[in-house]
């Protein structure tokens, strides 16, 4: 059920995206909160330091330049800048000051900027710098990790239940559809077999020509239904059938399948043009290969013009089936292997055929190439 998985994936990625956004947002908020808390806690101490420095530079100023010994304290570093943000004196190692802030963190240092009441020695900005022991940061990271982890576990559980809730109705409708198809398929088998068996028992020589024509048409129709039936049962039971791989001559099988479709082709006056080499071997399951060929030939007939041709080529490691039909629009070529996809809505059928072709080809390592020109025809090349 690929579409089910697709919408589940979609749901999950949305969910994970949202959870991550929320987590990041809350973490950022919490980080900023802790940082501001740390700032408010350390600020009085820094203001005290600033006061000491200002007291000293006021003394220096009042000495009128006689005493110019800048104060050095052990717990912090400081610098003074003038109104044009030109350095007057600095003990700092890095001198990129953010003058628009009152308190900020740079690297592992905290800086506090104080403006004295008068410009002693020209000082408009006094910068106090202390080393941040970053205990608050470690605590913050620890908190974010533990609570974020708990939150993640919680949301994972929640997401699991939500996802279950989300796909439940979808799964139910899929199951319903699958069961319906299964039941219908089984019910179809008996009547179709009965019709085909009965037609075979009719002696064509005993009846008049008009009736024979009608019965011929009935046979074609019944075979078409039978093909569809086989496709459906193949798809439904596919998982259970084990391949019986053997090396065999594909030529034999191909000719046999072509002759099986002769009646159907004649009904549309479609001719086969064959170019078949001797002894072309392949390692695969014979029944499945028959199914693959059936589907390709039946498509070539179905989508062909009245009176068209089907060219079939078989060479070592290459089989080409080419029709002179309506073709497939370029933008649809990639889609046609999907189940229930028909590249022409006006034709009947369930669109299961190409999906089966694709599955079988994949199983035996056969690559499929499709060339198609609208109104010219379609060429399917199988290589192995």
């Amino acid at each position: 059920m690929p579409s089910e998985r697709k919408s589940l994936l979609y749901f999950l990625s949305m969910y994970i995206f949202l959870v991550i956004i929320i987590l990041l947002l809350v973490s950022a908020l919490y980080y900023n909160f802790r940082k501001d808390l740390m700032f408010t806690q350390i600020r009085p101490k820094l203001a005290e330091n600033a006061k000491d420095v200002i007291y000293r530079i006021k003394e220096m100023h009042q000495s009128l330049g006689a005493d110019l010994h800048y104060p050095r304290f052990s717990g912090f570093k400081s610098a003074i800048y003038d109104a044009d943000r030109v350095k007057i004196f600095s003990l700092l190692e890095e001198e990129d000051i953010r003058f628009d802030k009152v308190i900020y963190k740079t690297g592992d240092k905290i800086r506090f900027i104080k403006e004295p009441d008068a410009y002693y020695l020209g000082t408009k900005y006094l910068i106090i710098e202390v080393l941040d022991d970053e205990r608050w940061l470690r605590e913050t990271v620890r908190d974010i990790l533990t609570f974020g982890g708990l939150f993640l576990i919680f949301t994972a559980f929640l997401g699991f239940f939500l996802a279950k809730l989300f796909i439940k109705p979808m799964r139910e409708s899929f199951l319903l559809l699958d069961n319906f198809i299964k039941d219908t398929t089984h019910e179809l088998n008996t009547p179709i077999s009965a019709i085909l068996a009965n037609i075979e028992t009719i002696d064509k020589n005993e009846i008049n020509e008009k009736l024979a024509k009608k019965i011929h048409r009935i046979e074609i129709a019944a075979r078409t239904i039978s093909n569809i039936y086989q496709d459906m049962s193949y798809l439904l039971l596919n998982k259970k059938t084990v391949s019986n791989i053997e090396r065999f001559d594909l030529k034999e099988l191909l000719l046999q399948r072509i002759s099986y479709f002769k009646i159907l082709a004649q009904s549309k006056r479609v001719d086969f043009v064959l170019n078949i080499y001797e002894e072309v071997y392949i390692k695969a399951d014979r029944k499945k290969m028959a199914k693959l060929i059936d589907n390709l030939i039946s498509n070539a007939i179905k989508y062909n013009k009245i009176g068209g041709k089907i060219y079939i080529t078989l060479k070592p490691r290459l089989m080409i089936i080419k029709d002179t039909g309506i073709g497939i629009p370029k933008d649809k070529i990639n889609e046609i292997f999907k189940r229930y996809k028909r590249f022409n809505e006006s034709e009947g059928g369930f669109g299961l055929g190409l999906n089966i072709v694709y599955m079988i080809a994949k199983e035996f390592g056969i690559t499929i190439e499709i060339d198609s020109k609208p109104d010219k025809g379609t060429e399917v090349r199988l290589k192995w």
Binding site: L64, D84, V86, G122
Partner: protein, 110 residues
């Protein structure tokens, strides 16, 4: 001849900023004006940066305004403000530069 020599010396020395400062500002302040050192630190206290101090000085010298004076009010009431400087803009700027270099603290703090 002697007079010519003296004027020549004065002319040459006038072209040097340091000497304009000494001959003009210092000479007068020694006799009539308040301490230039004290005034410098007053200007620093109010105008902070080199650019702003120099600008304020230049404007005051060109056009002494009692409202802008940093001298005590009592002093201005008694003595009035000084006369506008007779120096050319260029010479005045040079004198102010020398004044700044004489007393600036940037580069002198230890």
């Amino acid at each position: 001849m002697v007079r010519l020599l003296i004027t020549a010396i004065i002319l040459v020395s006038f072209s040097k900023g340091g000497d304009i400062y000494h001959q003009n500002c210092v000479n007068c302040h020694k006799i009539y004006g308040p301490s230039l050192k004290k005034l410098f630190f007053d200007y620093l206290l109010v105008y902070s940066s080199e650019r702003r101090v120099k600008k304020a000085l230049f404007e005051y010298m060109k056009n002494p305004d009692p409202k802008k004076s940093l001298m005590p009010k009592e002093y201005i009431r008694q003595n009035g403000v000084k006369k506008p400087s007779k120096l050319s803009d260029e010479a005045l700027k040079k004198a102010i530069d020398s004044y700044w270099n004489r007393y600036k603290v940037i580069g002198k703090i230890k």
